[in-house]
Symmetry: C2
Subunit: 428 residues, 2 copies
């Protein structure tokens, strides 16, 4: 009997954890990703605001897995899945067979049906390129504001709109405020960066609406102290070249702003639909394009196909599981253990149970909110917890030391060294 | 009498040093640069080979000059100089007057008349974007080699040609060898990166031909020990999509190679010609487009116009001064002092004299060559000297601490954490 082949698509939290958990599996593991690195997405907003460099939060997949002899890494884009013949095909038309398939390609931005129009106007925060592009836009806006004598234009350039009051949105808004009001305080001669307006737009009644009300209120206060205008119950209806249109309490308002950052909707990666089409009837796809999986992270009736992470829609105890890293990691560990058992000839019948250790979001220097079960913390202690957990998780990806030094450096100097405007069209 | 205006174009070694040296000048200093950061170009090859991040070797100009109250920074591109009316104009058609003009816009690549054709095929190493593009090409070549079953193609993908045996060329060739033969040694399963070919092409009889013969020989030996093929007396006659053509000892040879890095000719920034045309007769431009200046770094007859750094052609004791950072820095200090004296009503008649402290180049881990007067060193001691000097100079630009940590980390782990393939056309 030949060794079984386990094919993992996607090197994010789910896919990479799964590969690592299969370290001692008696099987050939193949990890395929479009990029050559794992990205620690929760810290992307720090790249977008010049606090960290891309390499601080990215780890080359080959480097992470180089000592794992049963595992191969391939850089390529999966464009087709043939579930009947247990085969996937890459964009360069090469094909690979599998015995077990793990699909963990995550999610991308979703602009509520206005993707083509809004995406270039309001980049989201999913890739390194997104982050350096947002960094370029924010920093260029200040440079242009310094150059102009036109009051209207200057105001527009110094207005930043962040769409979406989830963790990414509030971290982004807080970081732009810190960048403008603290880091760059003395950098300009004509403009006063402290006058930059940062507006956070949230559709529902409060920001961080998955958190306890007290924490929503605390994070709102922290954000306002940093200088963010928090507009809840505000619906975004249009994004233009240099403005956004919102509806607040039934009133339509146009806000002149050159820089808009998207932190609202996401939709699942297109591979979910490709997989569903290949299998045919019986596969459910939810509204966000996620593949519905059972309590074993399988597509019902297909025990050798697993879907995990943001691409999967799975029912937990209190409804569908959220699209956060801990869910993907725990699912990955669960299915890796299940596959290992099966390879050893045992049958594991325990279903997946998500252990919700809690959630946390940071709002600038020394402020955060943490919620874990009934335990709720705000302020400096929450921030230290945030710091500790993030360094701990980064640790697995070899980047801990550099990030720690960079953060310590930034903390004490209040500097953000990675404030580079790069990659614009006019290259020289 | 109103305060004098000193306008500096270019924030490289020359321009930035000049601005800093004018800290206490009783004048308004305006520094204009196309980019928002100063770039420590001598370490660009480390970005191109994944050892450092762009932000490690770049310092935001505003950040460097923020405490210097007489100085303003503007991000913009100078497209015209009107020497008669003492005015420069930017690409956005804004104009600025000056009493003193310092032009320090440096140099760019030069492909011996084949610029349009060769530039996209063989990027040089002048900007952050150049470096990340070269990094992308090198790393992608290995990824594609791992994917292919075609022996010919694999060989071609794993052949790297560096054109030019000056310091940049040898540092680049050495770093590619280290990356392939050491850092990525265990990263792949199908290819053996140790088999990568790195070919250094040099037109003249020896590499580092401005150095003493002993050092040329030593660096050649070091490079060969690292695995570089050093082809001297070899003329590059063509660059194609996946090959180069060279002439060695009269024999034409075609080498299949997917990745070519340009480290040969440079030409002066176009601003030299713009300046010369504005002044009219009497301004000499040399073959490389450099502006000939007198012993005061002035264009003869124009005491208020200074040209320094790579854009200037100035006679030293042993012929024209080389296009290296120390020349630009010393010229900048000289003219800053001259302008300060003049502002104070004194007339300084001492001409500029370049104090050649020596030159150094590094060839991979623990190897370098240093030449200072009659003092010549190779090996580990030279490398420690190289390390010390570079950290010392970086120190001025606030990045010392992070680079030191990153280097120490890389040295002990033999890792290069910034091995990211970013910015390719297919963004997601």
């Amino acid at each position: 009997m030949s060794r079984k082949k386990i094919l993992i698509i996607g090197g994010g939290f789910g896919g990479l954890t799964c590969a690592r958990s299969l370290k001692r599996a008696d099987a050939d593991v193949l990890l395929v990703d479009k990029r050559n690195f794992h990205l620690f997405q929760p810290l992307l907003y720090q790249v977008a605001t010049g606090a960290l460099s891309p390499a601080n939060i990215a780890a080359p997949l080959r480097s992470v897995l180089k000592r794992q002899r049963n595992t191969e890494v391939l850089m390529g884009e999966v464009v087709g899945i043939d579930a009947k013949n247990k085969q996937v095909s890459l964009s360069d038309s090469r094909q690979f067979n599998y015995d077990y398939l793990v699909v963990a390609t995550g999610s991308t931005h979703h602009y509520f049906g206005s993707d083509a129009k809004w995406e270039p106007l309001a980049p989201g925060l999913k890739t390194i390129e997104d982050a350096t592009e947002i960094r370029r836009r924010i920093l260029t806006a200040f440079e242009q504001a310094e150059l102009t004598d036109d009051d209207e234009l200057r105001k527009r350039l110094m207005t930043f709109v962040v769409v979406g009051g989830g963790p990414t949105g509030i971290e982004m808004a807080g970081a732009i405020c810190e960048l403008a009001h603290q880091t760059m305080r003395r950098d300009f001669r004509r403009i006063n960066p402290a006058k930059a307006r940062v507006i956070l737009i949230e559709n529902s009644a409060r920001i961080l609406d998955r958190y306890h009300e007290d924490l929503s209120a605390a994070s709102r206060k922290d954000l306002e102290n940093l200088g963010t205008e928090v507009w809840t119950q505000t619906r975004l209806t249009e994004i233009g070249d240099d403005f956004v249109v919102v509806e607040r309490q039934g009133v339509r308002e146009q806000v002149a702003a050159n820089t808009v950052v998207w932190a609202a909707g996401v939709k699942a990666s297109p591979l979910g639909r490709i997989l569903a089409e290949s299998i045919g009837s019986g596969v459910e796809i939810d509204r966000g394009g996620r593949v519905c999986v059972n309590e074993f992270c399988n597509i019902p009736g297909h025990d050798s196909i697993f879907v995990i992470g943001d691409l999967a829609s799975q029912q937990g105890e209190g409804g569908p599981l959220p699209g956060v890293a801990p869910v993907a990691v725990q699912q990955a560990q669960f299915i890796a253990s299940r596959i290992r058992q099966e390879l050893a000839g045992k049958k594991d019948i325990r279903p997946f149970r998500y252990w919700d250790k809690g959630m946390m979001a940071t709002i600038g220097r020394s402020r955060a909110v943490v919620q874990s079960g009934r335990w709720r913390v705000t302020g400096r202690i929450a921030w230290l917890a945030w710091l500790f957990i993030h360094i701990l998780y980064l640790a697995r990806f070899e980047n801990r030391v550099m990030v720690m030094f960079q953060w310590a450096w930034n903390y004490f100097t209040r500097n953000r060294a990675a404030r580079l405007i790069t990659g614009n069209r006019d290259r020289r």
